[in-house]
Point group: C2
Chain length 194, copies 2
DNA sequence: GTCTATAATCGGATAGAC
DNA sequence: GTCTATCCGATTATAGAC
């Protein structure tokens, strides 16, 4: 918007939405405050009015993604059904959260660990993975999942598949309906025709 | 090695091995020439004796990964068996190449497209994906793979799973034997007990 | 809440000696 | 083939006006 006088002033949230888009396009390290100011249509120093700096923008964004993901685990662990059903719930809901919080989760999954904020994010991701691996292990013990693949390895490959959604999914694009269904089908029953 | 006088002089290849390790730890954008010189134990200007700059190091590294991946497709497309067998060959060999060329493929998979070199790498990755999707489509047409998941979507999820190996695999670590086998089993037959 | 101007530092790259 | 010294543009962040 070219006319500053009619544009609604930024809030931290609306600034964050713009920021995350740029971080995902250019990478966090590859994004300068100049890039952000251009994308937001305000000056660099105006950004510093809302946040302490670039790293705080990263922390707020990945925090939003992490909160959404941990909420899924809290739901699943409160359920009473067989382990395999709870695991399926986590798989489906994680895929759905990836889609609904796409830019925030995308950023989270690309974090490498250069700064304190990035290391904090990696740590919380590891906690998430461990809790999922426990669910999967319980389903194997119950005889509901095949026992010939090590649970930790299966968890990693399973979430590798789910997380890869952020690499290509674009809302509204053709042929992206039923992504969560496809994930659940492939994960539990595989590609082969029966 | 602290003693410069006894260390073998770098070649482009040996310098590349060091470089790729740092790029993967800190990210390409997050790595400075200063970081590289410290890791290699030589000065910044000595690096410029071997390569034209930072971007050339990236090009050499991802080029090595791409060459290894395209060699797999050339093999598979030359085979004469049923499509599903050729696809399984590609899946297994891709997982194996990920393991054998781990740092180079890791770097390739993290490229985002900020520079000309990065865009060239993304383009070649798209070519690879399309050729795999064709193989998978042929296997669906032959009735060897389930028809209720769109081939492009299945390809993406399949390679999402395979590529995610670079996120956690460390050579020699416990519980990482039979990774390629696990990938093939999960991809074609799924997690569920039979 | 946003601006212009600028401080302070970092990072890629080069010159020229050994 | 490697070094020290340095150039200079880019980048994060701040000061102070409106």
């Amino acid at each position: 918007m070219a006319d500053n006088s009619t544009r609604t002033a930024y809030t931290v949230d609306s600034l964050l939405a713009v920021t995350v888009g740029v971080f995902n396009e250019r990478g966090y390290d590859g994004t300068s405050m100049e890039d952000l100011s251009r994308a937001a249509g305000i000056s660099k120093s105006s950004i510093y009015h809302h946040v302490r700096g670039k790293e705080e923008l990263l922390r707020l964004a990945v925090g939003r993604a992490l909160d959404a993901l941990f909420a899924i685990l809290d739901e699943a662990e409160a359920e009473t059904g067989p382990p395999v059903d709870r695991l399926e719930h986590v798989v489906r809901r994680t895929a759905e959260v990836l889609l609904s919080e796409l830019p925030y989760v995308t950023l989270l999954l690309r974090v490498r660990g250069n700064t304190a904020t990035e290391q904090w994010a990696l740590e919380r991701r590891r906690d998430f993975d461990h809790r999922v691996a426990e669910l999967l292990r319980a389903a194997v013990t119950a005889g509901e999942l095949r026992a010939d693949v090590e649970p930790r390895l299966a968890t990693r490959l399973l979430f590798g598949m789910i997380n890869s959604i952020v690499e290509w999914y674009r809302p509204g694009a053709k042929g992206t309906d039923g992504v969560a269904d496809a994930v659940v089908h492939l994960a539990f029953d595989g590609l082969r025709a029966r």
